[in-house]
Every structure is written in structure tokens, then in C-alpha cells.
Amino acid sequence: MTADLATAPPADGHLSQQEFRQPKTGWKTTRLYAGLTLIVIWGLAPFYWMIVTGLRDVGFTFDTTPWPTHVTLDNFRTAFSTDRGNHFGQALVNSVIIGVVTTAVAMLVGVFAAYALARLHFPGKYLVLGFILGASMFPGVALVSPLFQLFSSINWLNGYNYQALIIPDISFALPLTVYTLTAFFAEMPWELEESARMDGCTPGQAFRRIMLPLAAPGLFTTAILAFISSWNEFLLASQFASAKTQPVTVAIANFSGAQPHQEPYTAVMAAGTIVTVPLIIMVLFFQRAIVSGLTAGSVKG
């Protein structure tokens, strides 16, 4: 029926509007693929330039040949070298520690709240949701001066005090976790849990065998989003990290070169490539899940 209607010419002869469910014309296809090419270039070109520069000999930093020239791995060695006071390798370890602990805490605590918000009825639910949303909009900079004073008085701003970075990170990772999970949980077919009970499962079995496998993709996606958000955090880390605990974002921002006031571009691009590659791999493997996590809840349906 719809096909018939779509092909029937409209009364006032707007033939150009007859695009639906018809084979694409050559011109339209060309325009579509031109637009898609532009989007791909948008996403990849600056990133490509970072990799190309990271592979270029330091003497040819400002070479503008669009493909790799004077290829060397020296910059990657320089990035990890500690001769100039950079501790990039340590910073990578720190970022993993901070990211994993922050994500684990946010997930362990947030999963219960999200379950309650998605499934249970209780007074004050909207107040709680509003509070969590407000927390997600909270400016990190407002945490800095009170926490800086507190942490310096209890001597957390030097040595291996990872908690001085993890605790402030919870302030954005936990709200993110709770509302992403709430959106995922709300869309799950919870009737299946009851059906499983009817079929003789214990509550534990119904949860383990039926609901947990269904919830796994949502839990996993949320964990990835929380991890990326804390891996990429800079403002709080730049204030609360010591030389021992600084994460990669701070290490890259403060990367020093052979001479003061001279930016070691090629080494920084190599370091940037190393920091970004794990994220790119996640994006390649889990793009569908990440997109659904990012947009979860903003759209009904």
C-alpha cells in the first residue's frame, strides 16, 4: 500500500519529492558518498597527522608531505625515556590504575541505584534522579579549591596517593554510570524474570541465567564509557596528582623537550598515539555498543 502511494504523483506535481523507496539516482549517490567521505576525513585526518608526525624524524618535524617520510621509531623511544624528567611509562600505569578503580567503584555502587531507579517505585524517585543529573552537570572546577585544601592538610598531594585522584573522579563517573545503566535497565524485558520463576527457577537462578546475560552488554558498555571518561580526565588530575601518580593526560600536557620552551612535537605525537590506540581499538570493536550507550535515554523508543 505504501509503495503505491509513494509512487503516485502528488496533486500539485512536486516530482522532486518522489524520493522515497525509489532507486537512488547517480547524482544523489555521488552526493551521499561525497558527504560520507567528508565525515570520514573529519574524523581521521587530524588523527592520521598525529601518527604520521609521531613516525617522522625529529629533524623533519614540520615536513608537510601528506604521507609518512623519514620514518623512525625514535620518537616512541623518546616518549618513554626518562632522561628529561618525563615519566610516560609510569603515567600509563597510573592511568590504568585510576581508570580501573574509578570504573569498578562507580559500577559496583551505581548498579544498585540504577536498578532501583529503573524498576522500583518509591517516593522521592524523581528527586534522586534530579540529584544525580545535577551531579553530572556539576563543574569539576568547583571541587578544586576545597579538595586541594583538604588533601594538602592530610598530605595526599605527594607520594603514591592514588585516592586523591580516584575520589574526585567518582564525582563524574558515578552519575554517568547511574543514568546510563538506568536507561539500559528500563529497556530490558523484565517479564522474562517472572516467566523464569513460573518455570521453576529460584530468584537467584532467574537473575543469573536469564537477566544477567541480558544485562551484560549494557553493563559492559557503561563500564567502557566510565573508563574512557576517567582515562581522559585532565582538570582534576592536573591539580591533585603528584609526580608519582600523574596520569597520561597530565604527563602529555607537561611533556618537556631537550630545550626549555621548545615543544618536542614529534615525541608528544608519538605519546599521543600510544595513549589513543587503546581507545581506538575499543571504538573499533565496540562502536555499536558505545553509540547505544552515548545515546541511551536521550531518545525514546
Partner: protein
């Protein structure tokens, strides 16, 4: 026409409503107490990491900064400051050695408040407007059927995934005097710019880098909105002889209004607190020395000279952001938390201009309206 669309949305939502909403009465007994224990850990943790620092910052903002007076070199005791920290920023009053105040001298941090406020607002308006336009365009392209959907989606996620600190260093290199940006400008006969040195090029460098990084988020949220519009609606519009612009204005825009406004809300609040990008790209400098100093950068600079006046400034930043969020949710249609059905009567309490396009929907479950954001 709009009624038809509205009706189809309503029924679509009703079908998507989880069964928990329909269950009432006996089965819900005991739920409030269970929910209390489930929600408690999250609330306690957020109280520790957000409410406590916020309250402490407010208390600190009414205290004097103790330390050496930069003018007299004498040690000044702390103590209650009344509103002087707020007057310092908002009325540009700087303390002098003997007591009393003078207008803050040029070059002092105190005198930078309104510059920082305007540049932050300028960044916010410029980036969000550009992102809406580009995001709509990208989303429309990606909404068509084509081969290689996965490749395009992965490509557009890359700017989003790269840490902002790395993005800033990458664009610092691109905008270097001998860098690729000036090289490409050379092809069209434009002389090299001091991208991170002069005031306006530095501001545009920040805007370009931010737009590059965050347009994907906007595009993906808009795309998710576009994908729930049924093709039948467009067919009907085509049969009625609607023009391309009419179709966009009367169908697409109202249908994607909620996801679009949610994306705009979160992006606006993100840019209002922008720090990493201008800090690493230009150190807040450019032009006369602070052309790209945003409010957050000013707070961080101020912390080195006094916690308490920094706390007053960060409290002002918090209030500005809270006010922006309030405006969006109240007037902008960013329905991030829908009121419980019992409170919002259909059509009631809504401004008249929103009634026809977004009908109050009593069956909408709140959880479906919780938006997600990207990390920083």
C-alpha cells in the same frame, strides 16, 4: 499534521513502556524500603565527593585569604570576609594594604573576571551553534542507507575518544607557525597566522579544536533521534506536497527536538566549564595575555594566590552553570527528567507554545528520559 505526528509518538512511547509502570498496588509493597537501601550508597558517595566540597567551597568563599599581602608584604590574618570575595570578582574591588578597596588594577587576576566571563560565553555560543549546524548535517547524511556504515561510525567516534589533552597537543602542532594549518592556508594565499599568539586566532583555534572533537557527539545524538522517525511520516508529507524545507521544519525538527535539546544542554554546560583545551593549547593566553582565559582557567590561576577568593569564583561558576541548566530545562524543552505522571497533568503547567508539538505523556517512563553524556 502535527497532531498526527504527536499521536504516533504517544502510541510509540506507550508501547515502549516497561511493565513495571503498569503494575500497581500489592506487588509494590516493600519496594520503597528496598529502593532506599539500593540508592543509599550512591547518594552517600555523591554527598562525599560533590555536596561536601560544594558546601565547603561556599563556606570558604566567605573567609578572608590569609597570607602575605602582595602590596605591603605583611602577613594578613584570615577571618570572616563577608561578601568581599564576591565583590572582588563581581564589582572588581581589590583590597589595599591599609584596608579599604580600590578598583582592581589592569593585569591583576581580579580585573580579568568579566573578560573571562565574556570569552567563556563566546566559546559556548560559537561552538554550540556550529556544532548544531554540522551535527544536523552529519546526522542527515549518516541517516541514509549506505555501505560501510561501521567504518563511518568508527571514524566519527575517533575525535570523541581521543583524550582532550591529546587533542589540544595535536591541534597545537597543527596550528604551530610552521605547521600544517598555515601551510594549507598558504595554498589559498593567506599569510601564516600566529594561531596561539594573537587574540582572535587563538580564540578560533580553541573553537576549531573543540568543534572537531565534540561534533561527533552532537551528530550521534541527532542521528539517534532521526532513526526513530518512521519513513511513513515522510511519505505522507511527500504525498501532501510538502517542500524539503517544510518537511524539515514541520516534521524532522519537532521529532528530534528532545534529543537535540538534551545534546545542546549537555554541550552548553560542557563549554561553560571548558578548561583542558584552552589551558593546553594557549595556556589561557593570546593577545594581551588572557584572550582565551575561561572562567575555569581563572579559578585555577587564582588558587595559587588564595583558596578563599578562588572558592568565591568557583561558586559563581557553579551558579552560572546551574542557572543555564535551569533555563534549558524550564524553557528549552530539554526534558531530562520528566515529572511523575501524577504531577504533570496532560497539557497542564506547560507553556502554550509547547503544547501542540510535545504533548504531555502520562505513560512515559522516567528512566527512558535520562540522557547520557560523553566523558570529558
Amino acid at each position: 499534521m502535527s497532531t498526527t505526528i504527536a499521536d504516533s509518538t504517544t502510541s510509540g512511547r506507550a508501547q515502549g513502556t516497561p511493565p513495571s509502570r503498569r503494575r500497581k498496588g500489592g506487588l509494590e509493597a516493600g519496594q520503597p524500603r528496598q529502593a532506599f537501601w539500593l540508592v543509599l550508597p550512591t547518594l552517600l558517595l555523591l554527598t562525599v565527593v560533590i555536596v561536601y566540597p560544594l558546601v565547603k567551597a561556599i563556606i570558604m568563599s566567605f573567609q578572608k585569604d590569609s597570607g602575605l599581602d602582595p602590596a605591603s608584604g605583611l602577613f594578613v590574618e584570615g577571618g570572616s570576609a563577608g561578601l568581599s570575595n564576591y565583590k572582588h570578582w563581581l564589582l572588581q574591588q581589590c583590597n589595599v594594604a591599609g584596608g579599604g578597596t580600590i578598583p582592581c588594577p589592569a593585569g591583576s587576576l581580579g580585573s580579568q573576571f568579566y573578560d573571562a566571563l565574556w570569552v567563556t560565553l563566546f566559546f559556548t555560543v560559537a561552538t554550540v551553534v556550529i556544532e548544531i549546524v554540522l551535527g544536523l548535517w552529519f546526522a542527515t547524511i549518516m541517516n541514509r542507507t549506505f555501505r560501510g556504515r561501521g567504518l563511518v561510525r568508527a571514524a566519527i567516534l575517533i575525535p570523541w575518544a581521543i583524550p582532550t589533552a591529546v587533542t589540544a597537543k595535536l591541534w597545537l602542532f597543527i596550528f604551530a607557525f610552521d605547521g600544517i594549518a598555515n601551510h594549507l592556508l598558504g595554498f589559498v594565499g593567506i599569510n601564516p597566522l600566529l594561531w596561539t599568539g594573537d587574540a582572535w586566532p587563538a580564540r578560533f583555534a580553541v573553537i576549531i579544536a573543540d568543534v572537531w572533537k565534540t561534533t561527533p557527539f552532537m551528530a550521534l545524538l541527532i542521528l539517534a533521534g532521526l532513526q526513530i522517525i518512521s519513513a511513513d511520516v515522510y511519505e505522507a508529507a511527500a504525498i501532501d506536497g510538502a517542500s524539503k524545507w517544510q518537511t524539515f521544519r514541520r516534521i524532522t525538527l519537532p521529532m528530534i527536538k528532545v534529543p537535540l535539546m538534551v545534546a545542546v544542554l549537555f554541550r552548553t554546560l560542557d563549554v561553560l566549564r571548558i578548561f583542558d583545551l584552552p589551558w593546553i593549547l594557549t595556556q589561557g593566553g593570546g593577545g594581551n595575555g588572557h584572550a582565551t582565559s575561561t572562567l575555569s582557567i581563572l579559578v585555577i590561576n587564582q588558587i595559587r594566590t588564595g583558596f578563599n577568593s578562588a572558592s568565591a569564583l568557583s561558586t559563581i561558576v557553579f551558579l552560572i552553570i546551574a542557572f543555564a541548566a535551569f533555563l534549558f530545562i524550564k524553557f528549552g524543552g530539554a526534558d531530562v527528567v520528566q515529572r511523575p505522571p501524577t504531577v504533570s497533568k496532560p497539557g497542564g503547567r506547560r507553556p502554550f507554545w509547547r503544547r501542540s508539538t510535545t504533548p504531555a505523556d502520562p505513560s512515559t517512563d522516567v528512566a527512558a528520559d535520562v540522557p547520557a553524556t560523553v566523558g570529558k
